[in-house]
């Protein structure tokens, strides 16, 4: 999988993690190159979210190794992941409902002035990025609990995009969105990809996967079924991998 001698942005090598008796992720290896979108697919409970949470620092893997830019990375917590410019949009969005959009966007990375948080500056920055991502967003002074599903999602996306991510993890980013909004996320992904950012995209809609991803990795019961180049397969091939848990015969070689 060594693409013309390029160093992968991220390598997840032989990652395993178990909860009680359940092997949520079982010896999975995948990698990601700059400017690439890798789709992560599989049924609910396949272990996709758990795998990417090892990379984002939310979980401690039991075994395995993470390499960033070819060097072994030590990711003990979400702060460490951010230090490697890994940004994550969680499936649950991970927003503090009682805080407004700006406080959520800058949570853990507040803009300070004279030792105090600079709310006006953070709101101004939030208005700027939301102006790009969701021009109709107006509720800057309400707690995010007052926002619609789509608006909340756009806050979570803005948070991941704002801080110049090199590696972006998107766990079902379009789950709460309508067709128009989904289209905007698709355009955003293409724009970020063009900037050389590597993206792990967990996505259920096979058409989006075919359209947006360069490669697709399929998981089942915590194990990696296989990784395929999207332009070499049909959507039925991928669906077959998800359902049957094995690579189609013509690719198995």
């Amino acid at each position: 999988m060594n693409r013309d001698g390029q160093t992968p942005l991220v390598e997840l090598r032989d990652i395993s993690i178990a909860f009680g008796g359940i092997k949520a992720v079982d010896h999975v290896s995948i990698d990601l190159y700059p400017g690439e979108v890798v789709g992560l697919l599989g049924h609910n409970g396949a272990g996709k979210s758990t795998l990417i949470k090892c990379l984002s620092g939310a979980y401690h893997m039991d075994a395995g190794e993470i390499r960033v830019n070819g060097e072994k990375a030590h990711i003990e917590n979400p702060r460490d992941a951010r230090a490697y410019n890994i940004e994550t949009i969680y499936q649950t969005l991970a927003l503090a409902d009682n805080l407004d959009a700006a406080s959520n966007l800058f949570l853990g990375r507040e803009i300070m002035r004279n030792g105090l948080v600079d709310d006006a500056k953070m709101e101004a920055e939030t208005r700027k990025i939301m102006g790009r991502l969701n021009p109709n967003f107006k509720k800057f002074n309400d707690p995010v609990s007052a926002l619609s599903g789509g608006q909340r999602q756009s806050v979570a996306i803005a948070r991941a995009v704002y801080f110049n991510a090199r590696i972006l993890i998107m766990d079902e980013p379009t789950a709460a969105l309508g067709p128009h909004e989904t289209q905007m996320v698709a355009e955003l992904i293409q724009e970020l990809k063009a900037q050389g950012i590597g993206i792990f995209l967990i996505e259920h809609d096979i058409h989006n996967v075919m359209k947006l991803c360069d490669r697709a990795s399929v998981m089942k019961n915590g194990q990696l079924v296989g990784t395929v180049n999207v332009n070499e397969v049909t959507d039925d091939d991928i669906l077959g991998m998800i359902i049957l848990g094995k690579k189609p015969a013509h690719l198995a070689a």
């Binding site: 021009p135 967003f137 619609s148």
Partner: protein, 433 residues
């Protein structure tokens, strides 16, 4: 990611005067309740309730509970509870009383009235509070023991360690400097009080102007100047009226004579002096201001509210919620130490039952002040106002001859009704939390 329906509602329709002043309904409700209590008891007592002397007493009595309630806001906002604050207060009070009466004089040979007694006593008392709080925070944050259990245990433990510390004896405060944190023993006098009032007014106005300028600088909509001006006028008037009122409370002639004699002087003919602001009230105001700044303007405060709103989100955003828990409880412990200093100075002694049942008043003050037990929501000014409302109610009832058991029944009912009204209001307004 468009959501067109939301766009229309945000751009302002016609707004009422109250909306323009940007006063929130909760604060307004509490202010109305407080003013109603003051009005009712003033009429009922034929004016005695509102007299400078009584206002002074209520202010001083409110201080320890209000100080601890400020800390309790942070504890409850992070979805915890601290049932041990009354016992921690007693424990801090015990070590401070023993320090000034026995330990410091015997260990270091510090003599009566030596200012080092004051400094070391405070240091020992505050450190004890911080350590007790930090221990609680460690058990809750790192060991994941529910705070209800840890602090229920703490309630029993510290109350009785306190008993052993003093052998169950009362210890009277002998150090003259320590007494200044109490009631009538530590006052600023009229001139200094007015100076403080003016300084506070200036700071308040400048702060509001600076916030306004900052908003305008980023191109945000601000409230009209007349609204801003009205708010400033109300705040300045409140400060100055309070200062003026306490400056009308005269120091009795007998006491004045003793004060002069202590300095080896005699009272000049026709000389009078006023109490003015008590130092303890000044400390409360300072605590409330600092805690408000901490809550709204520091990372620590931001993380407290984030962790209360969604602990997972805070953790995933890189907030160390375990260490945060330790800090929140340690701060609570520190404020118990401060409250102990003031409570024992007012009583001029440490008694075994000091701070008894205070945890319930402190929690009630925070809750009446709008702190949600579900976490994530609460204000410092609300808690202080909550403490003031409870103390006014209790003092007023005592003045009109309501028996103590009945006073407590009323306070209990007020707590329940305050939360009940809030729930009904939120349902009506469609506010989820």
């Amino acid at each position: 990611m468009a959501d067109i329906s939301e766009a229309a509602s945000a751009s302002g329709t016609k707004r009422g005067v109250l909306a323009t002043l940007e006063l929130d309904a909760r604060l307004l409700g509490m202010l109305v309740a407080f003013l109603a209590i003051v009005l009712i008891f003033t009429v009922w007592t034929g004016g005695t309730f509102i007299q400078p002397r009584n206002v002074f007493n209520i202010s001083v009595q409110t201080v320890p509970v209000a100080i601890m309630a400020c800390g309790m806001v942070f504890v409850i906002v992070t979805r915890h509870i601290d049932l041990s604050v009354g016992s921690m207060l007693a424990m801090c009070s015990a070590v401070m009383a023993m320090s000034q009466a026995y330990w410091l004089p015997s260990l270091f040979g510090l003599e009566y009235g030596n200012p080092m007694v004051l400094v070391l006593t405070i240091l020992i008392g505050f450190t004890s509070g911080i350590l007790m709080g930090a221990a609680t925070g460690w058990l809750v944050g790192y060991q994941q023991i529910p705070s209800f259990i840890v602090t229920l245990g703490g309630l029993f433990i510290w109350r009785n360690v306190n008993w052993f510390t003093t052998n169950g004896q009362s210890v009277s405060l002998t150090d003259p400097n320590l007494l200044m944190f109490g009631g009538t023993e530590g006052v600023l006098g009229a001139p200094a009080s007015y100076a403080v009032g003016i300084a506070a007014s200036v700071v308040a106005v400048l702060t509001m102007m600076a916030a306004r300028k900052n908003k305008i600088g980023h191109g945000f909509v601000v409230k009209p100047m007349w609204a801003e001006g009205t708010m400033m006028a109300i705040i300045v008037a409140t400060i100055m009226l309070f200062v003026h009122w306490l400056s009308l409370y005269e120091i009795p002639a007998g006491k004045l004579r003793r004060m002069f004699e202590a300095r080896g002087e005699t009272v000049p003919e026709g000389y009078t002096a006023m109490h003015g602001l008590p130092i303890s009230v000044l400390i409360l105001i300072l605590v409330a201001v600092v805690m408000t700044v901490v809550a709204r303007k520091t990372r620590f405060g931001r993380y407290i509210f984030a962790a209360g709103g969604n602990p997972d989100a805070a953790e995933l955003s890189g907030v160390d919620t375990k260490w945060l828990t330790v800090k929140v409880f340690a701060l609570m412990g520190f404020l118990c130490g401060l409250a102990a200093l003031i409570a024992q100075a007012r009583l001029q002694s440490h008694g075994n039952d000091i701070g008894m049942l205070e945890e319930l008043r402190v929690i009630a003050a925070a809750v009446i002040g709008g702190t949600a037990l579900a976490g994530g929501v609460g204000t410092i000014y609300g808690a202080v106002l909550g403490a003031l409302i409870m103390q006014s109610l209790q003092s007023g009832m005592a003045m009109v001859g309501v028996d103590t058991p009945f006073q407590n029944i009323i306070v209990g009912l007020v707590l329940i009704v305050a939360v009940w009204v809030d729930i009904i209001y939120r349902k009506r307004m469609g506010i989820s939390k």
